[in-house]
Symmetry: C2
Subunit: 411 residues, 2 copies
Amino acid sequence: MSQPAPALAAGTVGTVETRHLDLPEPVRLDCGRELHPVRVAYETYGALSPRRDNVILVCHALSGDAHAAGLAKAPSGQSTRDGFGAEDRDGAGGRGLGWWDGMIGPGKAFDTDRFFVICTNLLGGCGGTTGPSSTDPATGRPYGPDFPVITVADMVRTQRAFLDALGIERLAAVAGGSLGGMQALQWAVLFPDQVDAVVAIASTHALHPQGVAWNAIARDSIMRDPAWQGGHYYGTGRAPHAGMGVARMVGHVTYLSAPALSEKFGRRLQSADALRYTIIEPEFEVESYLRHQADSFVKRFDANTYLYTSRALTYFDLARQHGGGSLSPALEGVRARTLLIAFSSDWLYPPSASREIEQALRALGKPVEFEVIEAPYGHDCFLLEEARQTPIIRRFLAQDGAGTTSRKRSS
Amino acid sequence: MSQPAPALAAGTVGTVETRHLDLPEPVRLDCGRELHPVRVAYETYGALSPRRDNVILVCHALSGDAHAAGLAKAPSGQSTRDGFGAEDRDGAGGRGLGWWDGMIGPGKAFDTDRFFVICTNLLGGCGGTTGPSSTDPATGRPYGPDFPVITVADMVRTQRAFLDALGIERLAAVAGGSLGGMQALQWAVLFPDQVDAVVAIASTHALHPQGVAWNAIARDSIMRDPAWQGGHYYGTGRAPHAGMGVARMVGHVTYLSAPALSEKFGRRLQSADALRYTIIEPEFEVESYLRHQADSFVKRFDANTYLYTSRALTYFDLARQHGGGSLSPALEGVRARTLLIAFSSDWLYPPSASREIEQALRALGKPVEFEVIEAPYGHDCFLLEEARQTPIIRRFLAQDGAGTTSRKRSS
């Protein structure tokens, strides 16, 4: 490396490397197709207990990857933590830190002194797991738009097959925020006998219509970019960076709250508080910030993965998957204890959605806890408010007997 | 006309025609440049009183034009009322109805039995007033991106020059919603001795940072479209319809409220409640609706006008124009009575912004009324909730002596 490695904070899982595993069998998808071969990129933190009963699966959100914690062994120069605020905290030294590093490690919310934490890149991803940029065995070229349309359940079935290949049958917990929380909920529904606990943060059982709209706009922006080329842009030397940038900017504003933007940027100008009378250049600080977010995102993320993942999260609808109407049919088989966390200022995945899940579980007599954290940073709180989530999650996980045979943190 | 003219509702101003007036002098702009020639497109409704003291200037918002009321004499086939809900109410017969037809007419909020109502297309517009699609006398070609960057104050100065040309010195009232409300406020600040009353609806003294962000995204979407061609797309056979469509969709969602989208569309699918597993096609009704809005907008609106108008409304900042800090210096010269109306569900121009104006005026001892209407349709309420605004505005305008010499409504 040309730069010295940043000093690792106390409680870190250290330097980690993303590994890959090829699933032995095809993955059957909700759309009716099968996918084969399927490779899964993953990282692990902590040690597997002899009884293999201390596994926590952490699921990532739309723009994440398998690198959830620690410092990447071969930093790409692109942090997976490019969310609001992350840049403030990490600085240059933070490049390569996992997207939930504050939550995973010795003594942290997902305590690697106790648990063996696994994070996989989701099906359809661009972080090493098979996705639209992978080679289609039928053609020898990247799938592009011929990649099958996938669902959250398909992501979870892929994770199930991956854990089978690792010889892991049960999960002490499955956890995630946003789309990651959808996967966690889907786990409890699809594999009720194999999940002891669910931690679904800033998530929902079905994205509300405004969220569906934002996602449709983001996808349209990508697909309207001529450089998208109907999805067959790989190897052409062009990619839909313009449209992806707009998609990212839309997403970014929906991840934040209006008060957070006011607090961080106000109406401050770029240029010494004097208008420059320009249409083309950013004039307000918030305009410049958004362009920066767009530019850095398009360098590290595949547009087709964005399309497929965005589609999957709009499809997710536990009630519809189980006949429509109510959540009860979907949740009646759940055997896991559930912890729901939401943030007061999150208008994309509002607390009301988590409340609906809580009430449905409670009506079915299922163990459930729901915490609303008062915090101003909108949906991004699930990445930013790690310190306030930590005691809630630690207490919730401590109620369980899982992992008691593994080593305890001594502090 | 190939179709029969729709029947006109009671209280209509009837069939109207947009007229044009060339200003005799150049317009001096905030950016330091002058614009000449300047043509202004306008419509009038009602009759000018002998004392010329019954004039109400109505100012339109981002996507509007001079056709505020009545039925266009030569319908273009594109209604200016393409907002949420307007399509529901107007149906095919409503094409060509003015964007505030419910507010302007005999016995309506802006009562043409009493007032002479004028609406001009704003400076920079694409509805007949000089804007970026107009011919630049220096080159003989459309201005495009060489059009000067304009401000809300520039729009108001142009209206002032236009009224001078018509021989109208005073305004009994100036009124508008959104960007139109900004113009109304700017009138009271710039020409305090010539405005008796201001009606600023769903507006603000300075767009909040999230609104600045949405506008920046919309503009970036247009400018990133290769068909924009640096703004020189006129006459090339190409226009940035793709980017404009995305801009419109972003705008559209910000004009509505999340509950309104839920109520109107829910998570209903296009296809008999079964997923079709498609990335490219709309799957949810709300997705299809947004595409329709985008497609109809790009047919009737000029992309450069969108850029310039959006920029002007983000620049608008009464406090900054008067030294920063507080609103007081901007408002201390105001002599007009002010009516502010806001809508409870409007998150783009929230009631809190109007409250700030109210408090600043009240602290200065200025006459001000502020009404918050509880209504679910977000910012679009200023176009939709005409019936509930009407008694508030009529009562406010009735307090004034203006127009008492003109004929009264007999009903």
